[in-house]
Symmetry: C2
Amino acid sequence: MKVMILGADGYLGWPLSLRLMARGHEVIGVDNFATRKSVKEVGSDSAIPILSMENRVKAAKDIHGYNMKFYRGDITKYGVLHKIIKEEKPDTVVHFAEQRSAPYSMINAKHAAYTMSNNIIGTINLIYAIMDIDPKIHIVKMGTMGEFGTPNFDIPESPFVDVEINGRKDRITTPKFAGSWYHWTKVHDTNNILFANKAWKITTTDIMQGPVYGTRTKEITDKKLHSRFDFDEVWGTVVNRFTVESVLGIPLTAYGAGGQIRGYLSLEDSMEALRLLVENPPESGSYRSANQFVELLSINEIADIIQKAAKKHGIDIGVEHMENPRIEADRHYYNPEIKVLPALGFHPKLKMADLSEQLVKDVMPYKARMNKFRERILPHTNWRRVENAR
Amino acid sequence: MKVMILGADGYLGWPLSLRLMARGHEVIGVDNFATRKSVKEVGSDSAIPILSMENRVKAAKDIHGYNMKFYRGDITKYGVLHKIIKEEKPDTVVHFAEQRSAPYSMINAKHAAYTMSNNIIGTINLIYAIMDIDPKIHIVKMGTMGEFGTPNFDIPESPFVDVEINGRKDRITTPKFAGSWYHWTKVHDTNNILFANKAWKITTTDIMQGPVYGTRTKEITDKKLHSRFDFDEVWGTVVNRFTVESVLGIPLTAYGAGGQIRGYLSLEDSMEALRLLVENPPESGSYRSANQFVELLSINEIADIIQKAAKKHGIDIGVEHMENPRIEADRHYYNPEIKVLPALGFHPKLKMADLSEQLVKDVMPYKARMNKFRERILPHTNWRRVENAR
């Protein structure tokens, strides 16, 4: 299979490139290096050093014998994206090329507008490019479980649900209510894709993924093949942030009461899930929504897991509950359905408690490096504060 | 009251400027003249000639003694919008500054992306600008009844509804499913505004308006004060298009079976509704959704009204049902609620059947001018066709 990965330089894009090449697929990577630039912009960097794309591609060749083709390009320019897809004619386009940080989108007007425009236009361009070049191309699009917010109903994988409103029945799109501009762009994308599917029968897998953590996959067998690992308040998700905090001796920064529950999965399990979705496209012309996570955990449970893991490395670390800078409930119902991936043979191998000790171990060698960005860990971006609206 | 109108040069923006000045309000207009440019871009023009903004403002002064201040500016540039609002400190900002044509948004990738970016970024910038300068400013935002599509439930004015999904109850945003990229931008705007209201308590009136038709308002007492009147397949809504067709002797171009029902209102009634919403803001910090229309009519009923009006002017015109270029049901349930405006004292004066004869008469003097753009009336933009995706 020939697979194009938009956002191939990212946390997920790079290991997925390796995984698909390991499976014998031809991989074409595309990236504009926006994440590298934007992480530096907030004064931070990946905890684990990563090579340039050029050297990564070379290392993948030297170490595993993989041949990866790469284009530097910004998919918000229609001509750029169209040209690459026309040249390569992939069977599948995996679309990870979106600004992926919720706090980054909440910094100010400029960052909100950039996130809206970058994410929405990239997806619109992709839809039109495949419609023009080959409408049979399967789009695998990264959405987020955060599109749903924390509803009181069980989160279905179907894009539509049956409801009764004031005594009359209708079929509606599965209700969503996001908690940041970033998360809203994914809702807008989903709506745009559903419309394009209705209008033109594009074939799409829309992945509603929970937060991913971890440093390793089967193919990351060498330092040269590491994926980025962000830990600052803007770019690091909670597990990565807690891991780095424990190594640096900073009490784990739990936002609010810590009862926020999400569906987490490891990098290795995410790769396996993504591979299955790429290798098993839905029926041509159909829209498939897939919830992607392994276990439901609260912030407090995660803090507990990381505390225990740190203890095994002789580190005694506390938890500090701070005012929640985010707009979210910290006590709520949460029960997302997961049937699509298991039906494709998804058998997750790892739970967070199994992986946490290794996680702490993996970042330890970079203590001095992480310490440089120490002041970027505590929240600076308060989503609720009016003066932040500047 | 000091009211800023973003999009003051438009079909609604200009007459609303006049109406609010007639009511003694101070009006600040802002526009980047995008509509004038985009109508020319598709090879068309307003049926009724309109003056430049500079001359309009002068005419309003000469004829009515109104003093209108005007800024030329693009609100998708945050700095531009921020500066104007900071300088003027309005009580209310009426936001009409969005690309308003559904067919225009469906032309190709470039037009889809422009519509998404222009509309969404303008609203994001407005939210941030008022948050920074004065969060008490009332935003009156033009949405569309088209956000709802044609659901099988009665369309409520409340932004949230109670539903049961797979046996569990929740309160969700009122379901929406739009039929063009343009309409989707309004859904995305609504979601973004609801989020900003939740996060920061911005005060907003979100207007879900049906198609507006007509040439006159109480203040348009002179040719120099006319508002634009578009009739081509891209920029003209159905009533205006039918009116011009009847004058040019072109059979009325009804899309599909003609059973599409929408809620229509005249320009005069729209002005009165908008004035009421501006003069009566909702409770500070709240989000108010208002459905805005006067009568529900199907395409076939409108064709009938215009046919009869043309007959009174001695014109015998047929109706031609053509393949529907749009993505919409042409037979459906439609029952939108309307309570907010009547509670403010909205008493619509005119039905389409009362106004249609005058409408035909008003465009007759411009027959030669309209005839120049004759070939722009039949649909060129087929939303369903794959080759249109270029």
